[in-house]
């Protein structure tokens, strides 16, 4: 599973461009920075008020006043800045974040995502998911292709509550890469060793296949 996560994260890293302002969700997205090409530097924004998130600190370097949106200790890079939450979400909602990379529970044939409400649980948290969805210039979903129970996460219509009316731009799983267009999902890349048939079998969402 660690391999799969890194496989997805490495593919997502190739979507980033030098200088991008990037907001990373919890889980697979946080691994993306470990896979950046040498000629690509990005700036990490975290919605709790820091532009310039650095790597996790060593055990002796933990600063309790310096965490990311997952409430984990981080460091700050040279040239970073701190700001309050109102400013941070003005950045997000005002379209100043180039790329948001998020996990998801489901993505459907239209590109709508469900990633905030866990099935069977009382809804008691939404956090910044809706704001990132409506605000980021480009939204990339990174997720395992199937649930732990072996159910497809790419579905025809989300059965879980959607996060926003905004469609995501790209979906990256351990099996394939999909682009979202006005006409629906386009499978644009199979991961190494994966066949189209396998993707078809494990995907409920409609998609078209575009050979590169």
């Amino acid at each position: 599973m660690a391999d799969i996560k890194h496989l997805i994260a490495a593919r997502a890293a190739r979507e980033l461009q030098d200088g991008d302002i990037v907001n990373l969700g919890i889980g697979i997205p946080t691994l993306v920075v470990e896979h950046l090409p040498d000629n690509v530097d990005v700036f990490l924004h975290t919605e709790n008020g820091l532009l310039g998130v650095g790597p996790a600190p060593g055990p002796d370097e933990v600063d309790p006043d310096l965490v990311n949106a997952g409430k984990l200790p981080v460091t700050e890079v040279v040239g970073s800045s701190f700001f309050s939450s109102d400013h941070s979400f003005a950045m997000i909602r005002g379209g100043h974040i180039d790329v948001a990379i998020l996990g998801a529970l489901q993505v459907d044939s239209r590109g709508y995502v469900a990633n905030w409400s866990v099935p069977g649980q009382a809804i008691l948290g939404v956090g910044g998911a809706m704001d990132l969805l409506i605000g980021a210039k480009k939204v990339i979903v990174t997720m395992s292709h199937m649930t732990r129970d072996g159910e497809p996460k790419l579905v025809d219509t989300c059965t879980l509550p959607i996060t926003a009316l905004r469609r995501v731009d790209k979906i990256i799983t351990e099996l394939a890469v999909f682009r979202v267009t006005d006409e629906g999902l386009v499978l644009e890349e199979l991961m190494p060793g994966v066949t189209l048939d396998e993707v078809r079998t494990k995907t409920t969402a409609k998609f078209t296949y575009e050979v590169k």
Binding site: G49, F83, D86, F89, V126, G127, L165
Partner: protein, 223 residues
């Protein structure tokens, strides 16, 4: 000149049962834990808290919840405290869930005299249901109301004696905006300095927003 520097006991004694209280912090970071402990000790009840989170079991605002002092919580993410879920299921806490960006924008609106605003966040979702909507440039927006409070309990790093505040790293978060939106603003700080010791260009919260300053004692440690 007014003296704003008081003990935690004096500051929290200005509160009352049934108050609406904004509480700063993201998780435990930048949370006014000393002030919260004093609210626990003084025992005010039927409080409505406006806070991104409600602590974690045994920590921060969750202590007030577990002591039966909270009636309602408005915020964006309570999932990390499973006690909140138990109280909601038992009918002992009502919850208003808001996207985090909408949450903080509503507080800013409350502090800035804005009567309401339109945002795309939550439009077309479960959380947006029942909200007044409006199409603007082909996109759906929901109307959101300002949030204000009787009290804001916030956490800063340093205050000068006038009440100017600076924060530390990501402990800033909701504290400055909550300082603008409550009738009475009580701040807990690590250190109080003389006016002029804070850089006038770097003050985040000008003193006009601050009513009471409480210096954390050494026994309070650093959280």
């Amino acid at each position: 000149m007014k003296n704003k520097i008081v003990s935690k006991e004096q500051a929290i004694a200005t509160m009352h049962d049934g108050a609406v209280v904004m509480v700063g912090g993201f998780g435990q970071v930048g949370t006014p834990l000393v002030l919260i402990d004093e609210v626990l000790r003084q025992g005010y009840r039927d409080l409505t808290v406006i806070s991104n989170n409600v602590g974690e079991p045994g920590k921060g605002l969750s202590r007030l919840l577990e002591n039966g002092q909270l009636k309602k919580a408005i915020g964006s993410y309570f999932t990390s405290n499973r006690t909140v879920g138990e109280y909601v299921l038992a009918g002992k806490l009502s919850v208003e869930l808001v996207p985090q960006g909408t949450f903080v924008e509503r507080i800013r609106a409350g502090g800035a005299g804005i009567g309401g605003f339109y945002t795309r966040s939550s439009a077309g979702t479960l959380i947006g249901e029942g909200k007044e909507t409006r199409e603007i440039n082909g996109e759906l927006y929901v109307l959101e109301q300002p949030l204000t409070a009787d009290f804001a309990l916030i956490r800063a790093h340093r205050a000068d004696k006038l009440g100017n505040l600076v924060y530390r790293k990501t402990a800033r978060n909701f504290n400055p905006v909550m300082a603008t939106a409550a009738k009475t603003v009580i701040v807990e700080v690590d250190e109080i300095v003389e006016p002029g010791e804070l850089d006038a260009e770097a003050i985040v919260t000008p003193h006009l927003f601050v009513d009471y300053i409480v210096e954390r004692g050494h026994e309070d440690g650093r959280h």
